[in-house]
Amino acid sequence: MKQDIHEYLAEFEDIPGTRVFTAARARKGYWLNQFAMSLMKAENRDRWKADERAYLNDWPMSVDQKEAILARDYNRCLDLGGNVYFLAKVFSTDGLSFAEAVSTMTDMTFPEYRDMMMAGGRSPEGNRSIKGKY
């Protein structure tokens, strides 16, 4: 079944608290993600840890993107085209687990987030659609 691309993409905007990694975000975040990817190499991680700002200046990223990374503001990074699998290279280098890093994007502390997961996770109830409120 062939889908219309405009309708397909429009539906993504109706999901609460979610930035789907569309082509538009992938284009916007290209260098942000490629920078993050560079931290897969141990020697780059060393250079990054020694001077984060100097390391970022080697990449053609926007000022906003650089500030968002320095602040570890991952929701802002998502808005600026970051993808979590790429951003994971940054928080892994910081020594954060996936769960802890992910919790920083919610309105919870890490212990609160962990408790929520142990209790069965965030319910889909009311979290599926902005317009439909279901």
């Binding site: 990694f21 490629q34 897969m40 998502l78 892994s92 280098t93 997961m117 069965g120 996770g121």
Partner: protein
């Protein structure tokens, strides 16, 4: 003649690899997760497959934003464990099966699935965690592996229907390989999880179990689930479940369930695991 004898589905959460590598599989947190794989470990020893076609997704390890193949097949001799930011997992190298892999690549292209051929790459937790879950910690993996990487990161990923049809084409291609091989196909990733944004942490036990039910028996309803349903119901990373449909499609019209396991949570994720055989 080569034949697909079974299908295995499993989540591939990186934390499971950490638990194996740090010997924590029996503790209070991980014990109930790993208990659900004990049956499969014993079963795999008996089944002793020659090759596993392992459907997984790369998480910005072998593929960055430079190249985004929708369907890629590993045709190399061997693959090393990727350094995902904290050093590579200390697991055996993965041995490929270039003869079967190239046969599949050729057949699939003739069958109108235009595969990307990968000769050299490192493989990340998406591929090595399922091997650890099914085979434990051997000195060498007990079978060869044909990696089949699916783009589920940059939208749009392939549709469920396309994944199912690719599975059907893989089954036809395996059957035309002249060597006598016991081949399994594994679909990995999922189940419900969202790793980003204020909605992170979403899990959906009810939907996940409905999905598990749909893969058993003769229904093909799962192939028609649209992407938006995965996104709304199972979180932004739940879309990985389309990879399970490649496995399911390769098993033919009907399946029998040999083993089933579901557990919440592992890190941010719901763990699901199925062992199926063609029926």
């Amino acid at each position: 003649m080569a034949r697909i004898t079974a299908g295995v589905a499993s989540s591939h959460v990186p934390l499971l690899g950490v638990a194996v590598d740090q010997g924590k599989t029996q503790d209070d947190y991980f014990g109930p997760i790993f208990k659900g794989y004990e049956w499969t470990k014993e079963w795999e020893k008996v089944e002793n497959p020659d090759v596993v076609i392992l459907v997984y997704n790369d998480h910005a390890s072998a593929f960055d934003m430079k190249i985004i193949p929708t369907f890629a097949i590993g045709c190399g001799e061997h693959y090393k464990s990727a350094d995902e930011g904290w050093g590579p997992r200390n697991v055996p190298d993965v041995e490929g099966h270039p003869d079967l892999a190239w046969h599949l690549a050729q057949c699939l292209v003739l069958d109108e699935f235009d595969m990307t051929v990968i000769n050299e790459m490192d493989v990340d937790h998406g591929l090595t965690v399922p091997l650890s879950m099914m085979f434990g910690t051997p000195d060498a993996w007990p079978c060869k592996v044909v990696p089949l990487a699916v783009n589920v990161v940059t939208y749009p990923p392939p549709s469920g229907n396309r994944c199912w049809a690719l599975g059907e084409a893989i089954a036809r291609a395996v059957e035309s390989f002249p060597e006598d091989l016991n081949v399994q196909i594994w679909g990995t990733g999922g189940m419900s999880h969202q790793l980003q944004g204020p909605r992170a942490g979403l899990l959906n036990r009810e939907w996940d179990n409905k999905f598990l039910d749909m893969l058993i028996g003769d229904s093909d309803a799962a192939r028609h689930i649209p992407h938006i349903e995965y996104l709304r119901e199972t979180g932004s990373e739940g879309i990985e479940m389309v990879m399970w449909l490649i496995m399911r499609g390769a098993l033919g019209k009907s399946t029998k369930c040999l083993h089933r396991h579901y557990h919440i949570p592992c890190s941010n994720t719901a763990i699901g695991h199925l062992v199926l055989e063609p029926a």
